[in-house]
Symmetry: C2
Subunit: 433 residues, 2 copies
């Protein structure tokens, strides 16, 4: 028989816990026999003394087992997914998900809402009238079967232990632990009934991981623990020292995606990372030359195939035709303020976290769960890193509704873009693990 | 402005906290703004990463300041006290407190109840009819003024933060931390308005500290932190590898003390440690030669001065005359079972913790706060370590009321006394710090 205090004490002493001990402590927590104050002591001990990969695998499995999982075995095809660690202007899902479907893969994409300075995929989709992220298992299967991809929100039944633990970590100073972050992510991915996942690890001043070493460590843990629970995994570490693409904000990001996919806008970094992530997944199943694959995907995008697929997925998800049209045409845009350069040179730094905060400031983000957000506000970065700038050039645009928020946003934006002489160019894709 | 999560995080990262940060976190906890689950994370971080002596001093002060303190400034004389870390058969307070009073010192002795395998001073005194440990401040002052010593229980108003923290530590695997133990003890001693304290640190298989190094460490921390809050302090580390004296059990220990003080019984170890502790206190105020002091104390005991003082203190504490008489004569004793030796040799080991458990088993201890206990049960050790034993000699006696408990007690007692050939004699008093 196990005893919770003994297990907490064991971890406090830096000893390794076995699978059954970890299972027991999570089960006891979900049965409310183990109290929050005991779990937070356990989490703190795990944070400081660490959990090794075997323990993290056990924790992941225990958290997954606290809830239900989807069963997509009826649907033919390889089921794959992507998970991003979050950045500013991260709209990759809207390109990658339909692209994977066009390539013949099945992508059940369970996504979340935003909190703090990063936006959430579900929030962005909710800019579209009719979209309801809370889909029944049958609804998800129907869309997957017909279109090959669907984006839906995590139900209450998926890894409830993760939700309970995350809320506790948030208020006990135990968030930034690689093993705990890994278990949280992987436990949810286990529920998706997928055979392969690629992790989109963002690294830089607009991401949770600021340094490459941290990003590499997280990537390695995610890949190892995911494979240990029986799902193939890869990770791509890419730069998040500027907004991905040009826009940040809910409807604005969809506006950008629609116009990128319909051929009206070129968005290099968005295209590059989306295709790279697709390649990492597809190359697990097919022998393909990378360059050829990139060409193939670009063609699919240019020919409008990915746009069409995205359109159909959205329509199947109950999104209204007119709403897509409205966002594609930017008809939701209210007031715009242009920020112009007072000096010449080139963009040498962009405080990307501040860009996320500006969207938040304008009303487009939330500080607490269940807070309402304004889908129509946000910003556009008109000059990306290393671009030359003349006096009077538009550096950025602010899409706002409220004058007071606008002023604060302008101040923060002005202090967040640095113009100088020389920019040391960085790679966009740092590493594939 | 401070933020609790930042403070928890700082300790998680192993950084040192300043006085105001520690004060803030304790105040927030007492205001219930900081929740149990946050405090337990803080305690675990403090346990693993440690608190240094400066931080422990801050914690001690913050815990003391959560409640009230006594003010004995009206009473003339040096106010001193003793605190024991707890052992089995520890009846030192009943000898030391009146001895100090006879020596002209003032001893306001705030004591506690027992939990687990050790008994509590207050529980023992409650064997006496009429004794009420919950004394008003005025009552305490009156007795102190008249008799020079009084034993009373800690009121709810003394260091309430300690009580709240202790309950939490008990269920979160954060008990055995030297800094946390130190803060808990010293915060309460601060409330006694004393100028000097001696710590009676028990070490051995019947104490919380099993090894000398741990005991030394705790002694050093207690002395340093106590002095840092402005109270002179000393510590005596003594052996607890056997029951102190001969008896363990509530009324039985008082029975032993009365008969030791009235001259009917000789109890070497009890006498030795009591006088040693008195010496450590008194030598802080007077220049005296140790040997002379010991002789003086022995004389006071032999002449019945200490008995008389104890008697008067008890009478002032509302204890009935007949009740003292009854206990002194052993008239409370119900059924006795003698355990006899089946082999010859000498006593080489005594599992002292088990002796405490036996008292508990017989009904004389409690597992939970507020549990009722039986004051009349317990045990007597008839042969101490290194004493020679012949077959048929009485090794120990069990004072019981219930037959079922008796049987379990006999079994445990039999397995807790080891008879062998050779005993390596240990010192009784290891060290004075």
């Amino acid at each position: 028989m196990y005893n919770s205090i003994d297990i907490i004490t064991k971890k406090r002493e830096g000893k390794n816990l076995d699978e059954n001990e970890i299972k027991y402590i999570i089960e006891e927590y979900m049965r409310s026999n183990l109290k929050d104050y005991q779990m937070s002591a356990f989490l703190m001990a795990s944070f400081i003394n660490g959990l090794n990969k075997k323990e993290t695998r056990s924790l992941t499995k225990a958290m997954y087992s606290s809830g239900d999982g989807y069963d997509f075995s009826d649907i033919e095809g390889e089921k794959v997914d992507k998970h991003s660690t979050g950045g500013v202007g991260d709209k990759v899902s809207f390109v990658l998900s339909p692209l994977l479907a066009v390539l013949g893969y099945i992508n059940p994409m369970m996504a979340g809402r935003g909190l703090g300075f990063t936006g959430g995929t579900i929030d962005k989709l909710e800019s579209l009238e009719g979209y309801n992220p809370e889909m029944s298992s049958d609804k998800i299967k129907t869309i997957l079967d017909k279109e090959g991809a669907v984006i839906f929100s995590q139900s209450e039944k998926i890894a409830p232990a993760d939700k309970k633990l995350y809320s506790l970590r948030d208020v006990t100073g135990t968030v930034e632990s690689i093993p705990l972050i890994t278990a949280s992510i992987v436990s949810k991915k286990m529920a998706e009934d997928i055979s392969c996942i690629v992790y989109d690890i963002k690294c830089g001043n607009g991401a949770f991981m600021k340094h490459l070493e941290e990003a590499e460590k997280l990537a390695e843990w995610l890949v190892d623990v995911t494979e240990a629970v029986g799902i193939k995994a890869k990770a791509v570490i890419s730069d998040m020292n500027q907004v991905l693409g040009y826009f940040a904000g809910n409807a604005l990001e969809l506006y950008e995606v629609f116009n990128f996919l319909n051929g009206s806008m070129e968005v290099q970094d968005l295209k590059k990372i989306s295709i790279q992530l697709a390649y990492e997944l597809v190359s697990e199943y097919e022998t393909i030359e990378e360059k050829k694959f990139i060409k193939k995907c670009e063609d699919l995008i240019y020919k409008g195939k990915v746009y069409d697929k995205f359109y159909h997925i959205l329509r199947e998800s109950n999104v209204k035709k007119e709403s897509i049209d409205k966002i594609e045409k930017g008809e939701f845009i209210n007031k715009v303020f242009e920020i112009r350069s007072k000096q010449e040179g080139r963009i040498i730094e962009m405080n990307t976290r501040n860009m996320g905060k500006i969207v938040h400031m304008l009303g487009g983000g939330r500080s607490k769960l269940n807070e309402n957000i304004n889908h129509n506000v946000g910003l556009k970065i008109c000059k990306k890193l290393n671009e030359e700038v003349a006096i009077g050039d538009v550096l950025a645009k602010i899409y706002y509704e409220d004058e007071f928020n606008k002023k604060r946003a302008i101040d923060l934006l002005n202090s967040s873009i640095k113009i100088g002489e020389k920019y040391e160019k960085k790679t966009f894709i740092y590493k594939v693990i």
